[in-house]
């Protein structure tokens, strides 16, 4: 039993922490969010130079060969700084799918350009009717000559507006909710027939709806097996959920620390408000929520790293915990800051908004609670059913 990080992991964590501390204060971040692209390309180059973009990739493509723990320590620090540069979209999702399903040629052509920071990517999987069901795919892929023609629409694609290359899920066979019959395609964002409408989310993310009208791609655009894309998606989603959990953990820690600090300094009735027992107990509760969330993220990361049989169930549980503890913590943080907590100027609300969007990414707490219950006690949950279909 050992909860310590390796020397390399500690260095990685410290390097992200230093960047956040020195180059990513809240005002800097605010200016980045307000800029046209909503991200800072220079920061992205810094990420490349510091080797962060290489972390999960194999050494054969110039990667660092890191695992879930390495990703976790970084994401937690990104969370603390509310970093908006698209690490999650580009490295975890886009890069993850290339790792999981790409053939040698695809990996060789895309991974190095992720690592050197020259390409931003996105995974276009949501559709306007799909809510949290990734297998609900109405976008169509039809074979045409030795390639495919794609038609459909993806919505709220994270980093969709800035991405150079998209990975798109499309149905090549089967019915709307089937896990089998989903295929993945690598589509340049400027391909003919791709139209993007971008908008902003409350957590600073720039997202896009992506309309695909008769988009022609070659056979080499198919990522993984035809109709077998869901297995790769599922694998990447597991990693991505743990990464999001780590980011959420970083945010929760910040919210608690800042709120604690505030209650020690804000005075009313001639004393610090932190001296009121009614508030002390509330902060003890949020402290405990944080510790429980941390344990669950650690547990999930270990399960994933070790490939435990129980990993899927643990990860569902973690996402539930992240939502419950996160909501508890951010709601209390706002409340205990009084009027200050209601301002856009203070960072508290921005941490809250990112937590809310993490909750709404890749299934909310209820979605994962249903999946957890189905796995644990039986009964039907659509994703669980689809996974066994696909298997």
């Amino acid at each position: 039993m050992n909860f310590d990080f390796s020397e390399e992991q500690t260095m990685l964590r410290d390097s992200v922490a230093r960047f956040v501390q020195d180059d990513y204060d809240f005002d800097t971040r605010r200016a980045i969010v307000a800029s046209d692209e909503g991200i800072n390309r220079q920061n992205w180059q810094t990420f490349a130079e510091l080797g962060w973009l290489s972390v999960p990739f194999g050494e054969d493509h110039g990667g660092f060969g890191g695992g879930p723990v390495d990703l976790m320590v970084m994401m937690e620090e990104f969370g603390k700084g509310l970093v908006v540069e698209p690490y999650f979209a580009t490295v975890v999702l886009f890069g993850g799918l290339l790792r999981a399903a790409g053939n040698e040629a695809q990996q060789a052509s895309h991974i190095p350009s992720i690592i050197d920071g020259s390409v931003l990517g996105a995974f276009a999987y949501l559709e306007r009717q799909s809510r949290y069901e990734i297998t609900d795919v109405a976008t169509r892929a039809v074979a045409d000559g030795d390639g495919f023609v794609l038609n459909g629409e993806k919505v709220a694609v994270a980093n969709g507006a800035n991405a150079d290359v998209l990975i798109v899920s499309a149905r090549s066979s089967g019915e709307q909710y089937d896990a089998s019959g989903i295929s993945l395609f690598i589509v340049p964002a400027d391909a003919e027939g791709v139209e993007r409408v971008s908008y902003r989310m409350m957590d600073g993310q720039v997202v896009a709806n992506v309309v695909l009208r008769d988009v022609r791609v070659g056979a080499d655009a198919l990522l993984g097996e035809l109709g077998g894309g869901y297995a790769a998606i599922d694998r990447v989603v597991q990693e991505a959920l743990v990464a999001l959990g780590a980011e959420a953990l970083g945010i929760m820690g910040q919210l608690n620390a800042k709120t604690l600090e505030y209650t020690k300094t804000r005075e009313q009735f001639g004393v610090a408000i932190g001296s009121f027992q009614a508030l002390q107990h509330r902060m003890v509760d949020t402290f405990m929520s944080y510790e429980q969330a941390k344990s669950m993220v650690y547990r999930a990361v270990c399960a994933l790293e070790n490939g435990d049989d129980d990993a899927r169930r643990v990860i569902h549980a973690m996402k539930v915990m992240i939502e419950n503890c996160g909501r508890h913590i951010f709601e209390e943080a706002i409340q205990l800051h009084g009027g200050m907590g209601l301002t856009d100027e203070l960072d508290i609300g921005h941490y809250a908004k990112r937590l809310m969007m993490i909750n709404a990414t890749l299934g909310d707490g209820d979605y994962h609670q249903a999946a957890f219950s189905a796995l644990s006690y039986g009964g039907g949950h659509s994703t669980v059913a689809s996974i066994s279909d696909a298997a």
Binding site: Y199, A278, I334, T343, D344, E345
Partner: protein, 392 residues
Amino acid sequence: MDTSFSPEDLAFKEEVGAFFDEAFTDDLRARIKDPKAYKEAIVEWQKKLYEKGWVAPNWPVEHGGTGWTPTQNYIFDSERSARGIPNTVPFGLSMVAPVIYTFGNDEQKQRFLPRILKSEDWWCQGYSEPGSGSDLASLKTKAELDGDHYVVNGAKIWTTYAQHADWIFCLVRTSNEGKKQNGISFLLIDMHSEGIKVNPIESIDNHHSLNEVEFNNVRVPVANLIGEQDKGWTYAKALLAHERTGIADVAGSKRGIREVRQLAEREVNGGKRLIDDPLFQKRLSDVEIELMALEFTDLRVLSQVATGGAPGAESSLLKIKGTEIQQAVQTLAMMVAAHYQGVLPTDIDSDVLGNDFGMAARRSYMYGRAATVYGGSNEIQKNIIAKAVLGL
């Protein structure tokens, strides 16, 4: 025990409902929701109510009130809220006016009340200060007598709609002697006076309703002092009772639940409607059950008032439970909106966006966090119940 309405009350309900349905047009509804059109639209609506004679139900009849029974007031409020019609802006009609007609002199009544009734002046409330929120009595903005004027210096914060206001009613410090509650005065200040500066504060819902108001040697005629100097705290406390009526807003939450339900019927997850999801049903029914109870708690308090009891610390209960339920409903709307809960204001059409309610859900949820903070935070309300009801 009989909680049914009398035939007269039922007829009144019909009458009120019919008026709302006719007078509150879709156009008004849309403009009130648009921050740019808000002020003009809400004033237009208040003028319609004024013409009907219903703009100030709580006022004494001689000043323009309706003389309704508490039950009629309740019905009026419920019918309004059930239609999603916003309340009148409280600062003039419900906050300062009762202070003026209760504690003001005749000259003040004649000068201010008719204009408030006709929505000719926009008022804002200058109580809170950067250092004085929950502990309001510690306020420091000071007013010093100089001939027949007070000279006001200091700053107020969180002043809702100060950017629209013609007048602000302020608590100011006129003495530092004795208990801190004793040296406070109630002053009406023209917002167009020299030396007033309004600084906008953007709130968490990405809108501008909050402000900081600075006072730099602002000269205020002594004629604008309400009642006696140094007695303002007593007047302000009396006003709190008015602020709390309708605070539970049961009808508004009922409407919210209905909307959440309708949205959840439209949303589909993996082929299953969200409304059929047992977890979601549990969440929705939890809120609805709490609200069913609150509706009767509200009526019980109302009947106490009707039979002569003053709404006392019970209104704290209504505030706490009412706001908790409002927030729970807002949270459910966010859950229904899924990833669309994050959408910021955009020019993109909802057809193109793929969603028509996420943005509104976000705004309500984010601003809704304030309901447990303002009007005496829920923690302060609990302190009141502990002390005044439980004798702790």
